[in-house]
């Protein structure tokens, strides 16, 4: 039991103090296990499908799913492209062994390469997006008829828009979307995810040598702290700079949040009639039958 004294004092925006990001992992685990169990049932489903990449986000997601639904009701899909590493396969297999869920390997090299075979000068981002959507289409296929696709995008990725729309960002429910990467690692350790998986540099493996932090140009640790104070505690960018946060970093993050907001919302529907889906036809998704 942590002492209430930990919470004494003002939470200050300080680029060198990551303590505000600390969470109660026991409570979070309980809430997320209940969330998966309850929302799967409310969707009229009983199994979960998780794309298991060997990374920490999907490791946490699949571990929570096993706890919520039982490993016998969880299907993990490892969907390597030819650039995917052997280490990723090893980590995915290790998780399946440890947690007891069924893991299927469905390579996506053939279909992705066939699609791009006669196209010239394909930018690697297009290749990456195609791979992400290919994987998701397989997860959705394998979810039929009674499975729900679990999302693995964490809060940092969602806020930065660091993901492929209708690709890795697509899902039925997302248990980890309100956890910053730093917090998600804390939960991973609490869940007993092997340290090697928790600590390895995050990568989407969309091309060889890619790492999230290399591509973004900043670390998750730095981004999480800026996002926490900006989003959770509603500080303005100028206030963060006043408190010693790097101006370039703050401006860049603020711009990524703004520019990618479209990825976080449903597509816009042109309003014409008296009542329109998404605008003023507002029903809860968990609307139950009498």
């Amino acid at each position: 039991m942590t002492s209430a004294l930990v919470r004494t004092g003002v939470i200050r925006p300080d680029p060198h103090d990551a303590s505000p990001l600390r969470i109660d992992e026991v409570l979070v685990r309980k809430m997320l296990v209940l969330f998966i169990g309850d929302e799967t049932v409310k969707a009229g489903l009983k199994r979960a499908v998780v794309g298991v990449s060997g990374g920490v986000d999907s490791a946490v997601t699949v571990a929570l799913a096993c706890e919520a639904l039982g490993p016998q009701n969880v299907l993990g899909l490892f969907t390597p492209y030819r650039t995917s590493s052997e280490e990723s396969r090893r980590h995915a297999l290790e998780l399946a062994r440890k947690l007891g869920f069924a893991l299927e390997e469905v390579p996506i090299t053939a279909q992705v390469d066939a699609y791009f075979a006669r196209r010239q000068d394909v930018h690697r981002v297009r290749l990456g997006n195609k791979m992400a959507r290919e994987r998701k289409s397989i997860e959705y296929d394998r979810s039929w008829p009674d499975g729900i696709v679990l999302g693995t995008s964490n809060k940092t990725e969602l806020l930065l828009g660091y993901g492929t729309q209708f690709g890795d960002m697509a899902c039925g429910i997302n248990p980890v979307g309100d956890l910053y990467k730093t917090q998600l690692r804390e939960v991973a350790t609490h869940l007993g995810i092997p340290e090697e998986i928790v600590r390895k540099p995050p990568t989407a493996e969309l091309w060889e040598g890619q790492t999230d932090e290399g591509e973004l140009g900043f670390t998750y640790a730095a981004a999480d702290l800026v996002l926490y104070h900006m989003v959770d505690r509603r500080l303005r960018p100028a206030e963060l700079v006043e408190h010693g946060f790097d101006e370039k970093l703050v401006v860049r993050i603020r711009e990524l949040v703004r520019r990618n907001h479209y990825k976080r919302v449903m597509p816009l529907i042109a309003k014409l009639s008296l009542r329109t889906v998404g605008h003023d036809f507002l029903y809860p998704r968990d609307w139950e039958a009498d």
């Binding site: 942590t2 002492s3 209430a4 004294l5 930990v6 919470r7 505000p20 600390r22 969470i23 109660d24 409570l27 979070v28 309980k30 809430m31 209940l34 969330f35 309850d38 929302e39 409310k42 429910i173 036809f281 507002l282 029903y283 809860p284 998704r285 968990d286 609307w287 139950e288 039958a289 009498d290």
Partner: protein
């Protein structure tokens, strides 16, 4: 015997499924009766679910609607406090908490403070109530504060100075705030309120919160009964369904008020004069 056995049905209503929820209520009422309770309190909107959005109009009914008849019927054995959407004769929709006793609906409180910020959108779908009336309940003179009503200090205050011995707080409180080193953020706030109001207004606070999920939001439970001396009489677990049983002892209210006569010494006339002056209202002066 001044002690009354009170039950809180910490349940998970189905969103938008009134008939199923009526059946669910009957089950919990039976359980409460079997546990020897003379009163059972259900959470806010226990008959409809909370985040009803546009369903509000479909689910609303008048207090004498036949759909609520099973509650009246069940109240022949023990008193029942349950939440529904009331459609007024002039077609206004309100979040309501009914109190049924001896086969009849004897009191309805309409939620006054409709949270419309953050994760709440009550004010979009409902109109506010405009009264804080006390009424005789199985647990003594009572007032009802539906969820956000209790967050406004004036609500339990008005009930206490009007003579309430107990404040019922049916809630649909979403759990949030998972920082290290404390309780669930919402739980901390609610427990602080319950205990503060109980101890400083010398009333019982009966906090009935729901559990379950609606559209990704978890209701955290943690229902409790807090006595006028600040003692937590009973507390339900967080997040799980639970029938909580505890006693309200009116003798304890009397003893506590004798020891700690804050209410006796309360100057509600000063409060009234102060507020009236601020609002520029004429106040008849009597010597």
């Amino acid at each position: 015997m001044s002690a009354v056995r009170v039950a809180i049905a910490q349940c998970a209503p189905a969103l938008g499924a009134v008939k199923r929820n009526v059946e669910m209520h009957r089950t919990w009422i039976t359980r409460a009766r079997d546990a020897g309770a003379t009163l059972v309190v259900f959470p806010e909107l226990s008959l409809t679910g909370y985040y009803v959005k546009d369903l509000a109009a479909d689910l609303a009914c008048s207090p004498d609607d036949p759909v609520l008849a099973p509650l009246a019927e069940a109240s022949r054995d023990l008193d029942v406090s349950a939440g529904f959407i009331e459609r007024s004769p002039d077609a206004k929709l309100r979040i309501a908490q009914g109190y049924w006793s001896r086969g009849k609906l004897v009191h309805v409180h309409r939620k006054v403070y409709l949270p419309t910020y953050g994760i709440f959108d009550d004010g979009r779908y409902f109109g506010p109530g405009d009264r804080f009336d006390t009424f005789p309940s199985a647990g003594g003179t009572a007032g009802v504060a539906i969820c956000e009503d209790l967050w406004h200090v004036s609500t339990p205050y008005l009930y206490a100075i009007a003579g309430a011995a107990v404040v019922f707080c049916p809630s649909a409180s979403p759990g949030r705030g998972v920082a290290e080193g404390g309780d669930l953020g919402t739980a901390e706030s609610c427990r602080l309120m319950d205990r503060f109001y109980a101890q400083y207004l010398t009333v019982y606070v009966v906090y009935a919160n729901r559990v379950g999920h609606e559209d990704g939001i978890a209701f955290w439970g943690g229902s409790e009964i807090v006595a006028p001396d600040g003692t937590v009489v009973a507390r339900a677990p967080e997040f799980d369904e639970h029938l909580l049983i505890g006693e309200i002892d009116l003798e304890l209210v009397a003893r506590e008020r004798a020891r700690n006569p804050l209410l006796r010494d309360e100057r509600d006339d000063l409060v009234l004069r102060n507020v009236a002056a601020r609002l520029g209202l004429p106040l008849e002066h009597r010597d």
